[in-house]
């Protein structure tokens, strides 16, 4: 039941919010709801939770099944930690019709939680789409200048991808022995090797667009830039994880042979994507775009590590799913605080943040270190494991991907230099009063960065069962 309640808390709050007109009140309700969800997710992560199972569509034999294993738990934690963080950090931002904005945010959270918990393929698809619809409206209504066109591109891209997945689901469903969408039945489906390749391709298209893998990434930088920052945070901290989650949950266990047969190809694409995104990030002057491209590079590394199909690589990804979310969230919040107070995102116009607001300066440096995966930060643990896996798979690939570490240092430190150091620029001078809620969130997140960086054992324990499932010798 606790799994059902974690889904229903944001859902019910979202409906209530539609009728709350006062901004202040709406804020409190939204933060309270996401806080309750966080508490529930901690409970689930550390105490475990029983599966929830009920018949949904009897004629299709589709069930409403919610399960939580290590993989689900770590993404549950990430989602439930991100949403209150985002809502608190952006609580001071001026937004028109704030109650509707918050309501859609919580609908998006419901969809995301559903994706990570669904134990039934049709239900998974259902939530997969549901997470997309609120984001479409959030970006199109509250986004930047070119929002409508950009969001539409994003929507069509991902919608088409998920339709491919739907065909994949139907395809596997018709080959299950008991005509069921249950995860176990899908695993036991009787597909020939050729059919598995087809199904693999159908599923992979959806996940590749969502992650995104080069050359299907073109929707992403524009969407990140044009979305309101709170939504960008959701997109890059949590939503891209849907693609990686899909690979670990569905692709690897369902079609292991097709998976390893295509690993070279996908890894090549991923590494091209990593280098491509890194090079572009170096040339960016817009802070939001820089973080967007850096995020693409990191996700590319994760997908490469996944397709190395080694235990150590998947372990690294499982840790990094969480760590990357926290790090990129931190960077976005800092970028948002600066943009809200100065009105610019251009790195040229910045400078002297460390003098003007030392706390924010220190946090920027801290999250930047995490972004380039320095030891003692959380990202180091995951990236170390992932590079290890790449090296085991193919040293040349590892070397090519390794260049991205250097590139990451270049663009990230460049950003820090331009933003935090030097004389206090005109626009940075406008930052007179610190944004306390945002700084509070940043400090909490940075503590998470440090703690999981120094002592990652709880994360390993949490995900142990998923690894065991995937790599039973």
């Amino acid at each position: 039941m606790v799994l059902l309640s974690i889904l229903s808390v944001p859902f019910i709050a979202a409906i209530i919010l539609l009728f709350v007109k006062q901004d202040e009140k709406a804020n409190y309700i939204a933060i309270a709801a996401s806080g309750i969800a966080l508490a529930l997710s901690l409970n689930i992560a550390f105490n475990g939770a029983d599966n929830f199972d009920a018949m949904w569509l009897s004629s299709l034999n589709a069930r409403f099944t919610l399960t939580a294993d290590g993989l689900s738990k770590i993404l549950l934690l990430l989602t439930c930690l991100s949403f209150p963080a985002i809502l608190i950090a952006t609580s001071k931002n001026q937004v028109k019709h704030k109650n509707q904005f918050l309501s859609l945010m919580l609908f998006a959270q419901t969809g995301l939680l559903g994706v990570f918990l669904a134990g039934d393929a049709l239900l998974f698809y259902f939530f997969w789409e549901l997470a997309l619809i609120p984001v479409y409206f959030l970006c199109s209504i509250w986004g930047g200048e070119k929002r409508v066109a950009v969001t539409f591109k994003f929507f069509i891209y991902t919608f088409l991808g998920s339709l491919f997945m739907l065909i994949g689901i139907i395809y596997v469903y018709t080959h299950t022995t008991d005509q069921s969408f249950a995860y176990a039945s899908f695993k036991a489906a009787t597909l020939t090797a050729g059919q598995k390749v087809t199904a693999f391709a159908l599923f992979f298209t959806a996940f590749a667009i969502k992650m995104p893998i080069f050359p299907l990434h073109t929707w992403q930088p524009d969407a990140y830039e044009q979305s309101p920052t709170a939504v960008t945070m959701v997109l890059s901290a949590v939503m891209v994880k849907m693609g990686l989650y899909g690979v670990i949950r569905w692709l690897m266990p369902l079609f292991p042979d097709a998976f390893s047969a295509h690993s070279n190809f996908v890894m090549l694409l991923s590494i091209i994507g990593i280098l491509y995104a890194s090079f572009i990030a170096i040339r960016q002057d817009d802070m939001k775009r820089l973080i967007a491209y850096s995020s693409i590079a990191h996700i590319g590394l994760m997908s490469a590590a996944l397709f190395s199909n080694t235990e150590i690589g998947v372990q690294g990804v499982l840790i990094q799913l969480f760590s990357h979310g926290i790090n990129v969230l931190g960077l976005w919040i800092i970028a948002d605080v600066i943009e809200q107070q100065t009105g610019t995102r251009s790195l040229q116009a910045m400078g002297g943040l460390a003098k003007q607001n030392p706390t924010l300066g220190i946090l920027l440096v801290g999250f930047s270190f995490a972004n380039i995966a320095l030891p003692l930060t959380n990202a180091f643990v995951g990236e170390f494991l992932m590079f290890n896996a790449l090296f085991q798979f193919n040293p040349w690939m590892a070397a090519a991907a390794g260049v991205s570490v250097v590139l990451a240092a270049i663009y990230t430190l460049n950003m820090v230099q331009k933003c935090a150091y030097g004389e206090v620029s005109e626009s940075i001078q406008k930052m007179q009063t610190p944004n306390l809620p945002a700084q509070f969130v940043l400090i909490v997140l940075f503590l998470v960065v440090l703690i999981t960086g120094v002592y990652p054992a709880p994360l390993f324990d949490l995900t142990a069962d998923t690894l065991q499932q995937l790599f039973i010798k």
Binding site: S59, F126, I133, F152, F155, L160, L166, I167, I170, Y171
Partner: protein
């Protein structure tokens, strides 16, 4: 049987009700009561409580499926009249005449859901079609309406001729008008008079394509839908089309084996052409009404998937499809009627002026596009599942979903106009009552999208 007799009687009653009173509101009420009676009478037979005893010599057979379809059609008509009563009254002199025509159409529909004989099928189709020609031309002073009616009538008569020729061939091949499963010779595996039977079936197939407006027999659709008064377009594009589709599916589920491999090729060609024409042309429309006309062609493309094989997915799916499609379209046309002009720009800024109507319209559009949580999703899901299950090449399904993605483009264009464009929407003031009626449609769509089972369970009583 109950429904056929009751609807014919009610039609006559409706015709004379304008002698009793001139009050149009009363006519609408009589029609609503009549429709309720029809639903009740039909349910009596559906639940096996009472059936008017009448020997049809096996020309009609009343199946659970057919009677259930009747119920759906009657309920849809009820909802349609309930929503549009005031608009119907605005057209022509006597609303009662139109209601009478509706009842005759429903009489034709009840025959089409229970035919077991080609002649009955023919009569059903004619009873269904002829009132439509009148409805199309109902706006007598409007030249477009007249043109549309004439066009529809001429082309419709021609397709009727083709239909009759098809029946003649089938009679020649089998020696009976009864619907029989094709007889396969025990040793040679041949079907008797295969050639003549196939020729007849192909002619009937073409004629049915005309009725449901599948390409390449769709040319009348945009002009007729555009020219006819919008209320009646709403009726034609939903309830009538749904009926024709059901008859189409029922007939060919029992006959398609006679065509062998040719059937798959034929159907695939029509299906792809329909999806292509409907979706691609809809993208370029500037008028929402014409866009909906083309989108209704595109939707037929998806419904045709039900024809590939007589699986439970196909029959359940087509039911779900007509429910989801009709409810969403009636609702959408209900919004469209209230617009002063039909261009996309007319919807600009609707979300600010009428937030509730905009939200409801969005639900309709999402359903037509087939997004989860709406009825349209499961409708499309069942169709795709039926296609995959019947062992077709996966490529056809993939092409279909590419077109589904195209359809998102033009449906979302309307959402974008309502929500993200600034402007003053050209909409007539809407009273609360009308908005709540629309809300009922939206709730139905959501109910179909979350628990389609509830609506289908009646099939298995």
């Amino acid at each position: 049987m109950n429904a056929i007799i009751a609807s014919a009687l009610l039609g006559v009653l409706m015709m004379f009700s304008s002698w009793i009173t001139d009050n149009e509101k009363t006519h609408t009420r009589i029609a609503l009561v009549g429709l309720l009676t029809l639903i009740v009478v039909n349910c009596l037979q559906l639940n096996g409580l009472y059936t008017i005893p009448l020997d049809t010599k096996g020309m009609l057979s009343f199946t659970q499926f057919g009677l259930f379809v009747n119920t759906i059609l009657f309920i849809l008509t009820f909802l349609y009249v309930w929503l549009n009563g005031a608009e119907i009254a605005k057209i022509g002199n006597h609303a009662a005449d139109f209601y009478a025509l509706f009842f005759f159409i429903l009489c034709g529909a009840s025959i089409l859901t229970s035919f077991n004989n080609l002649l009955m099928l023919f009569i059903g189709i004619e009873i269904l079609s002829i009132p439509l020609y009148i409805l199309t031309g109902a706006d007598k002073k409007n030249l477009n309406s007249n043109e549309a009616a004439l066009k529809y009538f001429l082309m419709g008569s021609f397709s009727t001729g083709i239909f009759l020729l098809g029946i003649a061939f089938m009679y020649g091949a089998t020696g009976t008008f009864q619907i029989t499963t094709p007889v396969v010779h025990p040793t040679t595996g041949m079907i008797r008079e295969q050639l003549m039977l196939s020729a007849g079936l192909i002619l009937i197939f073409a004629s049915f394509n005309f009725k449901v407006s599948a390409a390449p027999f769709h040319f009348w659709t945009p002009d007729v839908y555009d020219g006819a008064p919008t209320v009646f377009t709403s009726f034609m594009a939903t309830i009538v089309k749904a009926t024709a589709m059901i008859a189409f599916v029922v007939l060919f589920h029992s006959q398609f084996k006679a065509l062998g491999y040719a059937w798959n090729i034929l159907l695939t060609f029509v299906l792809l052409a329909t999806l292509f024409v409907g979706n691609i042309t809809a993208v370029f429309q500037r008028s929402v009404k014409r866009m909906l006309a083309y989108s209704s062609i595109a939707q037929v493309g998806f419904m045709l998937f039900a024809l590939y094989g007589a699986t439970s997915f196909a029959t359940e799916g087509i039911l779900l499809y007509i429910m989801a499609y009709s409810v969403a379209s009636i609702g959408l046309f209900g919004v469209l009627i209230k617009m002063k002009e039909y261009s996309f720009e007319a919807f600009n800024g609707l979300a600010k002026k009428e937030p509730m109507v905009a939200a409801i319209t969005t639900i309709f559009l999402l359903s037509l596009a087939g997004i989860p949580l709406t009825g349209g999703f499961f409708a499309k899901y069942y169709m795709l599942n039926a296609a995959v299950q019947s062992g077709l090449g996966l490529w056809l399904v993939l092409v279909a979903i590419l077109f589904a993605a195209v359809s998102v483009y033009y449906y979302f264009k309307l959402i974008q106009a309502m929500y993200f464009a600034e402007g003053d929407p050209a909409i007539e003031p809407l009273d609360k009552g009308y908005q709540y009626k629309l809300l009922v449609f939206a709730v139905l769509i959501l109910a179909l999208g979350i628990l389609p089972n509830v609506f289908l369970s009646y099939l298995y009583f």
